[in-house]
Structure formats: C-alpha cells, structure tokens
Symmetry: C2
Subunit: 407 residues, 2 copies
C-alpha cells in the first residue's frame, strides 16, 4: 500500500477524530500502547485539578466533597460498556497482580473440595507467579498446560481456570464463552486476565457468562504508568466470594472503626486499602478517551490495522521475519508479533528511527495497534522502515545489542 492510499484510509476512518484525544509526540510512530497507553490530552488538567483544587484546597474534606470515597466504583463504572459488564460488577483497585491474587484466592476458597487451578504455561509471568503464590499458600495444585490442553484439563477437581484472554506474546484469543461453559459444567470458576483485551477488542463479560476478571489500567485504557487495575466479579457471585486481603475499605462500615471485619455487600467488598486518588484521576481521563466510541468500531479498526501491518511486513520483508501471531485476524487481539533471530537489535534500530514497538524474549518483535490513535499511514510507514532496516542490516550495531534493564 502506498502512503497516499493509507492516508485515504485515515481520511475515511470513522475513529480518526479520537487521535485528538491524545498528546502524542509528532516524531514517533507509537506501536506500544499495549504496554503503556499514550497520554490523554485531558489528563494533565484533570490531574492538576485533583492535586491543586481537591487535595490542595479542600484537603481532607474531599473524601466527601469530591466523593473520593466512591471513585473505585465510579471510575470503574466507566468501563462497563468497554468490557460488557454492569457498573456494579466493576472496581478499580491495586495492581493487576494483587487483583489476580485476590480473585484467585477468593474463588479457590469458595470451592473447598477442589484442589486444582488450571492455567496456561508461558502465560504472562505475573499471572503465573500470582497463581503459584496462591497455590503455595492454600496448598493447591497448579496445572500449567499449553493452550490446546486447557479444555481437556478442566475437570471436577478444578476450582479455578485462570487464563489471559489475549496472549501477551502471540495475541491469540481464547473463546471466552467456550471456556466459561466448560468450567461451569465442571463446577469451576474462570478468572480472565483482560490486560491485552480491555479497550482493544470487544469483550462481553456478562454475555459470555463470565465469573471473574482483572485488567490493566495502563495499556489500552491509557491510565498512565502503573495505573490501578480493575476487577470484575459477576453480580451473582459477589455475596458468595470473600476478599482474602481484608481491609477497611471493604468493610460494611469503614468509619464505624469496629474491631471485627464484616464485608460490605456488593463489589466494594473487594477493596482493601485507601484508594489511590491521584492515580485514579489519571485513569478516569484514560477511560474517558473511549467516551461515545463503540467497541465494535474499535475492534474492527484494530483488525484492519494489524492485518495491514502483517500484509505490509510480509510483502516487504519476505521470509526474513516470521509471523508468530495467529494468521486469522479474528483469532488475534490488537497486537502482532514477528519472530526474527535478532529481534532485540532490530527493535532498537526501529526505535532509533522513531517506530516504537517492544521486544519480548526470546526472539519476538511486538507491535501494538491502538485504534484510538494509530493511523493507517503509521502502519504502512512502520512496515516500510522495518523493511529498510532489515534490508540494510542497520540493526547490526553494538549499540542496538546492549540490553536495557527494562525490555
């Protein structure tokens, strides 16, 4: 595709307007919004108001005056149309990993006769580490199997099935309804990690009969570095599950200051400590970048962007790279990975040329397509630059081989 053809696609793009909701450096083609979402244009002022007016002027009164105490639920409620849930099923809190621990432990403890957690090996490491920690603490068995073995592993001994909806490397997508149905037949819960789904593709938690989910605030939701995570607990399960990380914010009467823990009814029982107000102000601005945008449109553009990239890269780079994501766009999330023996150095060369993706060990280049701000012209240009780098071997320099602390 020519640059001109790509610009014509951008001109006809019904989501083109959304790019103005972000502050993006003009010099960059940023294809790493799946790792850290871009800065929403409204975030600096939103954060400054929270800091200077609310914290600075109204101080402690802000817990009531600005309803800070309700933000974990009210900010989360903005996610309802993005993940297909009711507002009362969502909560913003903690980090993704802490939320994983909470819901894994809560679910496992609600199935005391079942001692097995099923998950996928080579899943995102923190998901595995959290599950290993829960199993160690509760004396459960963790079964880490390959994706095609998951369904066969779900049986009457299974308490929880814990899966990442969209794989952080390959972008392969699980069939949420199929896994939920199989787990429910076996009497197990399913915990979905939506880190690479929420804000990227259509997710219908309620419609697929989901039980539990967690997700990331700082990727497609644009909530800022280390933004709080979100949790989903289906309404029908909220009274049956208890939060293992008990704290005052999950208490029925947090300001009665009584000695005995008594969980509040509803989703707030999964709160623990004092809500991170400043971080939530940024996250709210991030989620608001989806305001009046349907996830069907987001998913459709996501698929077009990623498929265009696959076509352009394969057309320009031939067998130099190997697609390591599912070939069928319907089986992918919103990113694609290509394998190359020198992926680390090639990615550094790309970044030096202003095309920002990331490297994932051992040999993958990952490119994320964020339909709210990625343009078709960016995709074509990125593929063109990748082709040029591979052809010229400009990646073959010591400076591109020096591994940074964070990759």
């Amino acid at each position: 595709m020519t640059a001109e053809q790509a610009r014509a696609l951008d001109a006809a793009d019904p989501l083109a307007f959304a790019r103005d909701r972000f502050s993006l450096p003009e010099r960059l083609i940023y294809l790493d919004g799946n790792s850290l979402g871009a800065l929403p244009a409204a975030a600096p002022a939103a954060l400054a108001a929270t800091v200077e007016q609310q914290w600075g002027e109204d101080l402690i009164a802000s817990w009531n005056k600005h309803a800070w105490i309700d933000w974990p639920a009210t900010v989360a409620a903005k996610l309802a149309p993005i993940v297909g849930a009711e507002p009362g099923e969502l909560l913003v809190a903690d980090s993704t990993t802490v939320c994983l621990f909470k819901l894994l432990a809560a679910a496992a403890r609600a199935r005391p006769g079942k001692r097995k957690i099923v998950t996928q090996k080579a899943s995102f490491p923190t998901d595995l580490y959290a599950a290993q920690g829960v199993c160690d603490m509760l004396d459960l068995e963790l079964r880490e199997v390959s994706p095609d073995e998951v369904m066969g592993e779900i049986d009457e001994l299974t308490a929880v099935v814990s899966l990442t909806h969209v794989d952080y490397k390959s972008a392969a997508v699980y069939d949420m309804r199929a896994v939920n149905d199989a787990a429910h037949v076996a009497g197990a819960f399913v915990l979905w990690d939506l880190c690479h789904s929420a804000g990227a593709i259509e997710v219908d938690l309620d419609g697929t009969g989901s039980d539990l989910a967690v997700g990331c605030g700082y990727k497609y939701l644009n909530g800022g570095p280390g933004a709080p995570a979100f949790m989903y607990v289906a309404e029908r399960l909220q009274e049956a599950l208890t939060n293992p990380l008990q704290g005052w914010m999950g208490h029925a009467e947090p300001f009665a200051f009584v000695d005995d823990y008594r969980p509040v009814s509803g989703i707030n029982r999964f709160l623990t400590g004092t809500p991170p107000i400043l971080a939530m102000a940024a996250l709210a601005a991030g989620i608001d970048t989806f305001d009046r945008i349907g996830m069907a449109d987001v998913e459709a553009k996501s698929r077009r962007l990623s498929q265009l990239f696959v076509d352009e890269v394969e057309g320009r780079c031939g067998s130099e790279v190997r697609l390591a994501s599912p070939r069928d766009p319907a089986e992918r999330g919103s990113h694609v990975v290509f394998a190359h023996a020198e992926s680390y150095a090639v990615m550094q060369a790309l970044i030096a040329r202003g095309v920002v993706g990331d490297f994932r060990a051992p040999d993958l280049m990952r490119f994320g397509f964020t339909p709210l701000y990625t343009r078709y012209a960016d995709v074509v240009r990125a593929a063109e630059i990748l082709g040029a780098i591979l052809e010229s071997h400009e990646w073959d320099q010591p400076r591109f081989r020096t591994r940074a602390k964070v990759t």
Copy 2:
C-alpha cells in the same frame, strides 16, 4: 497564651521555614495532616513533569530513561533518615493494608511451628482486618489484647506481634525496643505500623532492632490522597522471608519472562505488580518536604505544639472536654484527642469556623500537629475557637449533626 506570645514562638521556631514548602489555604487552620498531609508546593510541577514529559513525551522508554523501574526503591530510600533505616531496607508499594498482609503472612510462614499472632484490640481497624484475614487464610490464632496485656501475651507460640507504634486514636506510643526485645526472646517477629509515627516523631527501626514495618504515604509524609505505602524489612531478614503476593516485579529477572517464580535478592522481592509511577512522583515530593530537616527537631516541635494545645484547651474549656491521650507528652505521638459527648457536632462546628481536625467514633475529637506546617499561633487560635464553640453551644445545630459518609 496570647496570640502575640504564640507569634513570638513562631518567629523563634527553627522549623518555621518549612511551612513555605507547602501550599496551604490561608483560611484554614489545618490540624488533620495526620489523616491527609497538605499539598507540597513542589508537587504539582513534579507531577506535571512526570505526566507531560515522562509519560507524554518519552512514553514506554521512561522505564529506562527516567529509571521508573527503580522508583519503588529510590523513592523509599528518601525515608531512611525519617524512620532510622538503611535505604536497602525500604520499599514503596501498594497500600498500607496490602503491605500489612504481605509482611504478616511472610513472617508467620517463616515461623511454621508457631500459630499465634498477637495484636492490640481497638487498633486501627484495617490492621485488625488484615490480621484476621491472614489468620483465616493460614489457620492461625489472632489474639487481640489491650495494650497493657501485650507483653504478657508474647510467648513461645507467638509467630508475630503486630502493633501500631502510635495509636490512631489516643496517640499512645509503644516502646519499640521493649516489644522487639520481648518478641525476640520468644522467637517471634514484630511488625510495626508506623502510619502515625513516620514523619511525626523520631523512629529508629534499626537502632531498636526492629524486624518489619509498614507505613502510610499520605499522612505526615504528605504524599497525596491514597499515596502508596512503604515497607521496611530488616536486612538480616530479607532472604529468610518470602512475599506471599508473588508478581513479576519481585522476580529475579522480571524481563526474562520465565514461567517459574524466583524471588530477587533484597528488598525488591516484596514488590508485586507494576509500580504506580504517578502516585510515586507525588509521594517523592511529599517526602522531600523533610529534606535537610532532622527528626529530633520535628519531634521536639511536635511535643511543644501538642502540649500547648492541651494546655490551652484545658485552660479554656475546663471539664467540658476530657483529654483522652496520654498526659505525658513523651508518651504521645503528634496528635491529641479530646472526648466530648457531642464530638461529632463540635468538630463540624470547628470545621465551619476553619479549624480542621477530625472525629473518631464514638466520642473523640482528634487534632493532628504537623511540625512542618503547623504554627504555634494556629494552635492557640484553634483552642480559642474550640473554647468559644463550647461556650456558645454553636455546635448544637442539626446541620452539624448530619453524619457525612466519610468521617
């Protein structure tokens, strides 16, 4: 004391300069920094730079370029002189409650033969709820006893003693060294909650032979609403304890993306999820308000402020209020509480007059003295207004009796 005498004390106060490190509304006498610290003057610009330059311009590269990945340790290191610890013994992460869970569970699991956790009843509720949760999960017994029973309760069955150093209501202070020594003789760990100590009075974690501590970022440390908490793990214990909330940030090689959890050496093993960068930018500005200020000076001023308040209130209000904090300033933290049957309404009347303290159920008015920005003149004026409110009974109005959601 007259207002003029109080102003003379302020003029001679060696810490008077520190008030300029804060943005405080002129109309308020803010005696609630023990609940939410005031806005540091440098915080808005620090946060804006993190948001606009680091997140907005440098995006994902900031994890290396601005060393975001190291912030949990580097921001925590600023606390070393404030709490009497080595930098490598401190970490910023999560909320206080989540940190309590982590360290309680870690300590209890390192004493598998001992099944008892000793704590104080009527301690801050979240401490009790977290301990109840840990005991429930690990099948331990929680003994909640009165302060004078704590030492007698520590025995060879005790795995952990978990205490709040300065009581959130009365401000009574435990003798850290005495508790540590008694616990160590019995083979138990001690976990100190420093929420009402850190930044308020002198704390010497290393010097008193402490094992573990957690503390709050948003009270005396001025880190902003819901700021991340901090943890202390004595260096000698770091390899012996394991973090029950396993996640990628505590892994020896977080970016190797391997399936099996292997904790890193040192304090970072107590990390779990992705660090909350925006919140930490504010917290760093908060801790920096203590730059080049010794905690001995802070404690000395704290004691003078609180004693002046006690004297002034008792002189003006007589038997209308009852001091519910220790009478000896050396036995108190940096706040004082007075009991009054109508404390809630009286506190609302005070707030309406611009004197901000808080109410603590059932009948306490709590006043916090933050030596970095509270003036002697504020203390005298606050006591004067309290006296006037009690004398005039202006608190006796329905609008002051309506309980807010957050008290």
